[in-house]
């Protein structure tokens, strides 16, 4: 196996043998399990708590689409914030602990080091999103009695593209910024900027900034063209990873 493959295998094995196996999976699994149940019983809960304060306003019964929307909303907020915080040290933690020095004084290029991390962590995020979506799908079917696959899986796939873009962005920020919390803060800043940019329609339609909104719209059963946003996001992710490799290549370790 090449140095890249060996290092990638290390990244993969590290996940189940460290805290990484607990944080993001626990968060996503929690929302995947509670989401459909909460969606199903939200009208009853609101009615029970509000009593006669609703003044005769009728809350419509929830549908499977509410369950789907809840899952995507949780992915886009808590899930993404957790991802940003967790990957704030994806590069800098190895530089700080000295493990990067032991690896990079062996026949492994710095580009391989970066790419292996992005590939494995993106695969991990993909696995988690797929597992969470599967749980949401199954529980929605149980709770609501119907669960068409299209809206849920298409919206989750669109969010996944956004999540992978953020894995790449956090890799770049972590290569640039030595502090884990500093990189996480910068990552949150990028998220806020993208959210604001997405409000402007041209960017919302044709750039990665539109992905969260498009994902949410798909979850409601709407028809949305996501091609340009997804393509530009993937292209941007590649550019960001190349930049991260270049930054690390010029960095004193």
């Amino acid at each position: 196996m090449s140095g890249f493959a060996i290092f990638a295998r290390k990244e993969a094995v590290e996940i189940p043998r460290t805290w990484r196996i607990w944080v993001l999976p626990t968060i996503l699994l929690f929302f995947a399990i509670t989401g459909p149940v909460m969606a199903r019983f939200t009208p009853e809960i609101v009615t029970a708590f509000a009593g006669d304060q609703l003044g005769g306003i009728l809350i419509p019964p929830s549908t499977y689409l509410d369950s789907y929307s809840g899952w995507i909303k949780n992915l886009s907020q808590i899930g993404l914030f957790a991802l940003i915080i967790i990957y704030g040290g994806i590069v800098s933690a190895e530089a700080k602990s000295g493990t990067a020095v032991l690896v990079l004084t062996k026949p492994v290029s710095r580009a391989s080091f970066i790419v292996a991390k992005v590939v494995v962590q993106s695969a991990f995020v993909t696995l988690l999103v797929a597992a969470g979506t599967l749980v949401t799908w199954g529980l929605t079917l149980i709770v609501f009695g119907t669960a068409p696959a299209g809206p849920l899986w298409s919206s989750a796939l669109v969010w996944l593209v956004f999540g992978i873009l953020f894995v790449a962005i956090m890799t770049l920020l972590s290569a640039l910024i030595d502090s884990t919390s500093g990189a996480a803060g910068a990552g949150l800043g990028v998220y806020v900027l993208l959210s604001i940019a997405g409000i402007w329609k041209p960017l919302g339609d044709y750039s990665p900034a539109g992905l969260p909104g498009q994902s949410a719209a798909l979850a409601t059963g709407a028809q949305v063209d996501v091609l340009w946003s997804a393509l530009t996001a993937l292209l941007l992710a590649v550019v960001v990873v190349a930049l991260a490799a270049r930054v690390l290549d010029r960095k004193d370790l």
Binding site: M1, S2, G3, I6, F7, K10, E14, R17, T18, E94, S97, G98, T99, A100, V101, L102, V103, L104, T105, K106, P107, V108, S109, R250, D252, L253
Partner: protein, 320 residues
Amino acid sequence: MTAAIETTGLTKIYGDKLALDSVDLLVEEGSVFGFLGANGAGKTTMLRLLTGLTQPTSGSMKIVGQNVETAGNAVRAQIGVLPDVPGFYDWMTAGEFLRFAGGLFGIEQKILAARSQLLLDQAGLGDVTARIGGFSRGMKQRLGIAQALINAPRLLLLDEPTSALDPVGRKDILDMIAALRGRTTVFFSTHILGDVERVCDTVAILDHGRIVARAPIHELKARYGRQKVFVEVTSGADALAEEVRRQVWANAVSTGSTGPEPTAGDSTGGTIEITVCDVAAARRDIPALVAARGLGLTRFEAGEMGLEEVFVELVGQVQR
């Protein structure tokens, strides 16, 4: 024969700090080379440059005949590196880390398994199944040397491998390095003169980023291998110092200032610090001198000259 290391005008500047100043260095293949310098002299910077972890401001460097900056993996495939504080994946076991390190060199699985076990046994870690996170500093250093040897390197670069180790750990590491003589070239940075004297053939001394001396170790020992003796008496320290000064083995004698404080409650006692050229004679004669004067001897200790003192001997006249 190809030089293991060859640097020409190697310079590194961090901001406004000159870390290495036009270093020309040649390390012959097969030698155990000591790279001496006080903390902050530039030793780690030199190691970081040689391993490609940082780029030089100017100058060039070759390892086993290949340019470090351009050869990349071709150079890294031929070296083994132990940083001053090696960072391991704490969740791995020692065996897992060696197999991981060997895998990065593309070593075939069967060879790697056998070599890993051999190196673990040599490092005294053959039976250790605990994760690296639970290792002592000494165990990590021994594992550090083992991982640096996993590719049977032509050049082994060790950055202060014995610093911060207890005497047993230090001995273990020095024994491992000494055992490598004739098998590979070892470039070994340290600020501990005793370690260099024990295992190295040749030494270079780095001071404020400049090489101020380079000599075979036997030559250095012959020139500067004097030792110090500390004597503390209950009274009559000045008179005893005068008598010691007249002895042929005494190069320099001073009282009071550099040794420990005089024994409490005795104003006439004190410490005498003697630089000697024949420590055996000093050990034999000093107790006799103290006894002849009827003095009480509270401390009698022989120690090696510190690096700073050797520096004074070697480079005191060098103008900066």
